[in-house]
């Protein structure tokens, strides 16, 4: 029988109980900082003729509050709304609808009414075909290139007021390589539309 010391156990228990207060507030009570006036409106995706919009419970359902996917003129898209920012950290988040997002990507900044909208794009050519995936992330009411840095900056606020949701929008289109520029332009345009839709849905009435 291995003997264990109980010398510091009381101190350790007190430390654990103190740490348990914020952990319980975040994980059990689930304090949240909703920054969108009408989150339900985000699901009503009618941007540039999106069709077959359906809610979907995916593998990451524990982290996701809204998961919508559908088609827009042959391109597949997903819109994920999550209170857990971790899956959206880094250059390539988990939720991309395309298969070819392992290679290098490009960051395209689109100006919309004075706001920089960073859109990350992957372009993969296979023989004469091309598959293009473009993603947009929105955190704390503005488009961001990566969620990690803004979540670090707002860590103290989040600790006391709860997390803000991350909106992730990704779209993938494919076609003949000669149409790559047009496909990319359409996907980017759709994502800009998604940002405008987000802005309209979330602005205070």
């Amino acid at each position: 029988m291995i003997r264990l010391s109980d010398r510091h156990l009381l101190v350790v228990l007190l430390m654990l109980l103190v740490a348990a207060v914020p952990v319980a507030a975040h994980y059990v009570v689930g304090i949240r900082n909703e920054d969108c006036a009408d989150p339900a409106a985000l699901k009503r995706l009618t941007i540039n003729g999106a069709t077959e919009v359906a809610e979907w419970k995916g593998h990451y359902s524990y982290a996701v509050t809204q998961f919508t996917r559908g088609d827009v003129r042959g391109a597949r898209f997903v819109w994920v709304r999550s209170w857990v920012p971790q899956p959206f950290y880094g250059e390539r988040p988990f939720y991309t609808p395309g298969r070819h997002t392992s290679g290098p990507s490009q960051l395209e900044i689109v100006q919309v009414d004075g706001v920089d909208v960073p859109i990350r794009v992957w372009e993969q050519r296979v023989l004469s075909n091309v598959e293009i995936t473009a993603i947009l992330r929105i955190y704390r009411g503005r488009p961001v290139a990566d969620v990690f840095e803004p979540s670090l900056v707002s860590a103290m606020d989040t600790l006391f007021n709860g997390p803000s949701p991350v909106d992730f929008v990704g779209i993938t289109g494919a076609g003949h390589a000669s149409n790559a520029v047009e496909i990319r332009r359409n996907l980017t345009k759709w994502l800009v539309g998604a940002w405008t839709h987000h802005l309209q849905s979330c602005q205070s009435p």
């Binding site: 010391s5 430390m15 994980y27 971790q86 392992s102 993969q124 989040t158």
Partner: protein, 287 residues
Amino acid sequence: MLLWAVVAAYLFLFSSVVFWLAEQYVHGIWWNGHSLFVPLLMVALADRILRKDEKDKKDRKARAGSPSPAGDAISPTADTSAWGLLLIATGLAMVVVDCAIRSQYLSLFGLLLCLPGFSLLLLGVRKTRLLWLPLVLSLFLIPISTRLAEDIYLPQLISQGIVWIADLVGMSVIRVETTVSIASGGFNVSEDCSGFGGIYASLCVALVLGTYTHSRGRIALLAIAPWLLAVAINIPRGFVLLLGVKYFGMGFLTTFWHTASGIVAFWIALGALLLLADWRTLREELG
């Protein structure tokens, strides 16, 4: 009673990261599936090491026929170190901060930092030193991103290797970056498919086997083997998948055989590592 209260509070604090880890581990064999076995390996090793220590202590006492030597007389209570409190406090601070960041990694590092902390407080300094291997193995609980494969150009190497084999057998193949194509189709050698998960798992096994090896040459071989095996096994594996695409079409990649080939690749690597092991020392040290 107090000990159980500490265990319960500890489990509560880290339950979120444990659920997250479970999700990471069962997500797919290409990622961190092997990490499911790491806690078992840690517990089994710690159990063996502590039992052997107790047995050695008894043997020494029996041989001396007198009160035990000074080192053995140290009780866990006398041997505990307050550094354990510092490690636990730091680990808990990480969990609290991670409530805000939700990286889960920060919580995980906190969880791992608490392990040597608890060992120092509950078992004492001497036994914590004995338990260095299970504690180091806990690092393999960290889910790694297969994106690291890209940093060491593994998908590029594997895809180029597939082309080399195809050239040898006179098969016409086109490689664009990491995508290998033939007339009937092709596939991208992704980071997941390049065998990086297998390297991570093999390094964990190699660390245990290398610890219980006396020969320096064998240790060097065990250190380098996971990297070489990943390349040596996954290139022919990729070529077999390409043959599957050639004869059965693109649908072959969505069959069970695609996954099975990954599992077989790891089992071959594991078998090769076990062949390199110093079994005599392993038996002596771990019984």
